[in-house]
Symmetry: C2
DNA sequence: CTCTAATACAACCATTTGATTGTATGATAT
DNA sequence: ATATCATACAATCAAATGGTTGTATTAGAG
């Protein structure tokens, strides 16, 4: 099994990009269907340039890709990157479970019968 | 089934807290075992106050809790909150899948036989 | 009781972030 | 050919972030 490794910077960018409501909304919309930057800009109460920057942050985080289509850029959500984020969180859960497991072993050891007699 | 709702602010804090390598490391360590703030501070190349602030950010995000134990505060990772983050990401995946499903329906409709004759 | 270790908290500072406006460029439609 | 729409990008700015040092408080050790 291939365990992909991520740099701290990379993971920082990923979670940072998700830490903004407008950006999360952009990701949602572009997972459902391809949308141009200007279509996105129409939806939010901020300047075109501001939306453009949010898209750029998402692109750096690889949560979306942009594809030129004539004079507009279609923004496409990247489901793989969402899954990568999920896998990163899975590792945290694994740590927690390993703690519980070790605790169980300890309890099993000194409660009913001493092990390995 | 209960669908919990989160405010944008709450989700922002959650992902923001995860967007820092030191903080992620603190979460990992405190999921594995309870650790005091000063024990944590010893591990990182920064001041005690800086580590204290990171713990505060994690606490605000509810990724850890602090429990007084004598003169020290034990920091404990909160696995439930990790799971909440995972569930938020699941919803993004759901959107993607719904897109695929709709696409499949479209393809099924006009390819082999027209539906509903 | 006194000293010290662990924490809390305020003030400060540099950098980053999230937004703005303005200007430039490229593709389309008329 | 030209006007316009979609985008890119620079400069600017206020607020938030991530770090520092210094001071105060509190609990435990000697």
């Amino acid at each position: 099994m291939v365990v992909l490794e991520y740099s701290d910077q990379d993971v920082n960018r990923l979670f940072r990009a998700l830490a903004d409501a407008t950006r999360r909304d952009i990701v949602r919309r572009t997972l459902v269907a391809d949308v141009s930057v200007s279509q996105l800009a129409d939806s939010y109460e901020m300047s075109f340039a501001a939306v453009q920057k949010h898209v750029a942050v998402l692109e750096e985080a690889r949560l979306v890709t942009k594809e030129p289509h004539g004079r507009e850029r279609m923004v496409r959500g990247n489901p793989d990157r969402i899954r990568e984020a999920q896998r990163l969180l899975d590792r945290f859960e694994d740590l927690w479970r390993s703690r519980i497991d070790r605790l169980d072993i300890l309890l099993a050891e000194d409660d009913p019968a001493p092990p390995d007699t």
